[in-house]
């Protein structure tokens, strides 16, 4: 049980750490990062959002909004989740993804939980916030699948976003429940068989917000790393959507290596309010029926 708790906490803290570390170099190219930082591996804030060190962005904040709604409702309630996203949007967040903004606005205007399927919804915004739902459904496959897509469709309705959210969410669930990297690889290979465009070896080298680029960057560096730190550092130094690729690889690496493997120097820099809220949410999420 201890190990499972450590891995669950690791996955959620991993999102925040990856977000805060990656935010410094979001929208930068690898050569610009090398020029400015050599290898970027410290939480220093800055970046295009001019953040204070340890500050997280929309990736972690939307996760906390989703997690908060799950705990308050004692389980799944799609409207509660959508309302939590609205409350978050009205709180003047430091950044909001364009597709997330459009989806939340649609919900505000017409109260529909999903827009039409759209080519322009192929971003990584639905996957980036999945970790609290993973923790709320560790023992319930069916619930995870259904709820993962319902939360995704509030802002992103795109087949590739759907499949990536399901598969990487599955991987995190499996890792937290004690599965190893080998079983993870089996899930990844099944994805590549059905959707070859997600192939990540050799690594195509793009780390944009397009879900295919994001998944390739995350899975390549997750399977080629050998520690929490090496997975996250290699990922964020690819730049582009670095906070989001960092958050997602942080979820997987945290689920595999555990919270105890996250560098203390990074945890110490992280916004203390966010760390406290994550710890409280992990307790609340693991007590939900889907994880009993």
């Amino acid at each position: 049980k201890i190990e499972r708790y450590d891995r669950a906490l690791g996955a959620y803290l991993g999102v925040a750490v990856g977000d805060a570390l990656g935010a410094t170099v979001e929208f930068m190219l690898p050569r610009e990062i090398r020029h400015l930082y050599g290898v970027h591996c410290e939480i220093v804030g800055g970046g295009w959002l001019k953040l204070k060190p340890g500050r997280v962005t929309d990736d972690t904040e939307m996760s906390l909004a989703l997690g908060g709604a799950l705990i308050a409702a004692g389980g799944w309630d799609a409207y509660a989740v959508a309302d939590a996203f609205v409350a978050w949007l009205k709180s003047k967040p430091v950044d909001v993804g364009n597709t997330c903004r459009r989806g939340i606005q649609r919900y505000m205007m017409v109260r529909s939980l999903s827009g039409p399927v759209s080519e322009s919804d192929g971003g990584n915004g639905a996957l980036m916030r999945i970790s609290p739902l993973v923790l709320a459904t560790l023992n319930d496959d069916m619930a995870f699948r259904r709820q993962a897509l319902e939360q995704a469709h509030i802002t992103h309705n795109h087949p590739l976003s759907d499949i990536a959210t399901l598969v990487l969410g599955e991987m995190a669930r499996m890792l937290i429940n004690g599965g190893g990297i080998k079983e993870c690889r089996v899930l990844a290979n099944a994805l590549l068989t059905e959707y070859p465009r997600f192939r990540f070896d050799p690594y195509p080298g793009r780390a944009s917000g397009y879900i295919v680029d994001t998944v390739q960057t995350v899975l390549h560096h997750f399977f080629h790393g050998d520690s929490f730190e090496s997975c996250v550092v290699a990922t964020v130094n690819c730049g582009e959507d670095a906070d989001t690729t960092g958050a997602i690889v942080g979820m997987l690496a945290g689920a595999l290596y555990g919270a105890s493997a996250i560098p203390v120097r990074w945890l110490d820099k992280l916004d203390p309010g966010v760390v406290t809220e994550i710890r409280q949410q992990v307790d609340g999420l693991l007590e939900l029926p889907g994880s009993q």
Binding site: K90, N98, Q105
Partner: protein, 112 residues
Amino acid sequence: MKKIEAIIKPFKLEEVREGLSALGVSGLTVTEVKGFGRQKGHTELYRGAEYVVDFLPKAKIEVVVPTSLVEAAVDAIVKAAHTGKIGDGKIFVTTVEQVVRIRTGETGEAAI
């Protein structure tokens, strides 16, 4: 997609932005303009002599939104920009046929 042009009193800009951001609208463009209308200008002293400046400084806000959002956005602007005194301003709504986000090449509603 519609373009909303609102000509308002300059000191109301912050409030109007707040009203729009409560709808999740954060992108907008602002121009400093001069208004001539029912609200007359004022008298200024320049080198001791009085003369009438017959225009008034206004702020012009341009915001392009999906058609489904127009009504709510116009209401938010009216609520925020209203003082009840002459010169509060005007709102004009026109149709925009195409929008392009220059950074990504996205078009249509995905670009706003």
